[in-house]
């Protein structure tokens, strides 16, 4: 069940008539139990909580409050550059995968290729296959236009998030 509960056990004061005093109660709690469901807790008071407040974000594009639109001067060249980048990533797949097999877990090239092109998921290809749309697919669909570069970056980020798995997918998106 999603949710939490907060419980406070008020410790007896030194002048209070109670079956156990505060020191004894703490001593009971600090005892090491063998109940498997009980989580280990530090037998010292919690550290002082300090909250660092971040300065207000200067990323106005992310907040959607941008009042200007940045277009491209050479739309055809811009779209062609994205297309070629995707194709170059696909072409480099065997080499990237080979290097990752030596230095990592061997999926780097495949992961990048999924982000660039598209990925078909599903154990039973005929029945439950689901196509995760990569950057190239979004380009073909006309989602990347060159009319608003920031919007295009958002679409690319979305495509990467959809189609790439692994750590790199999360990092790049």
């Amino acid at each position: 069940m999603p949710g939490f509960s907060i419980t406070l056990l008020l410790l007896p004061r030194p002048d209070e008539a109670a079956p156990y005093d505060a020191t004894q109660i703490l001593c009971f709690l600090d005892d090491v139990p063998d109940a498997p469901g009980w989580k280990w807790a530090r037998s010292v008071p919690p550290d002082e909580v300090t909250f660092v407040s971040l300065p207000p974000s200067s990323n106005i594009a992310a907040s959607g409050q941008l009042d200007r639109v940045f277009g491209t001067q050479n739309r055809e060249g811009y779209l062609e550059a994205i297309r070629r980048a995707c194709e170059a990533v696909s072409k480099a797949e065997p080499e990237l995968t080979r290097m990752d097999r030596i230095a990592g877990d061997g999926d780097c090239g495949l992961t990048l290729m999924s982000g660039a092109t598209s990925k078909r998921l599903g154990l039973f290809r005929e029945t439950r296959a689901e196509v995760k749309k990569g950057i190239l697919k979004r380009l073909e669909q006309g989602d990347i236009t060159g009319e608003d570069v920031i919007q295009d970056v958002r679409v690319i980020s979305e495509a990467i998030n959809d189609a790439m798995d692994g750590t790199s997918g999360a990092l790049y998106s």
Binding site: M1, L10, L11
Partner: protein
């Protein structure tokens, strides 16, 4: 708590922890309701307490950590000294009542045997 699907004290829209936690602590520490205020908090900076934050089952560790942090912060603001903070899935609940009872009983038996 509403662990057996009881309607609970009130319903509200999901809000941020910094608003939710102080309102929950108010209900625990206020002493102006004779039918409910049976724990003698003094709320004068001299109270010492042990904090237990229980996960009802499906809150992530990351979120539970945030809840503990926010609760400790709110308690510091109130001047309640916390001598121990315990958090974890101590008493969980699913939507099936029998499962809840089974789990609670098991925990009690385990603790009683230890004592």
């Amino acid at each position: 708590m509403g662990i057996h699907n009881e309607p609970g004290h009130s319903r509200s829209k999901l809000t941020s922890l910094s608003i939710l936690i102080p309102s929950l602590l108010d209900m625990i520490t206020r002493t102006d309701d004779p039918e409910r205020s049976f724990v003698p908090f003094k709320n004068d900076g001299s109270d010492r307490a042990i904090l237990l934050v229980n996960n009802l089952g499906s809150v992530s560790q990351l979120e539970l950590g945030a809840i503990v942090g926010e609760t400790l912060k709110a308690l510091t603001v109130r001047g309640i000294t916390i001598d121990r903070a315990i958090s974890g899935t101590i008493m969980a609940s699913t939507t099936q009542r029998m499962a809840v009872y089974a789990f609670a009983t098991y925990l009690c038996v385990a603790i009683l045997r230890r004592r």
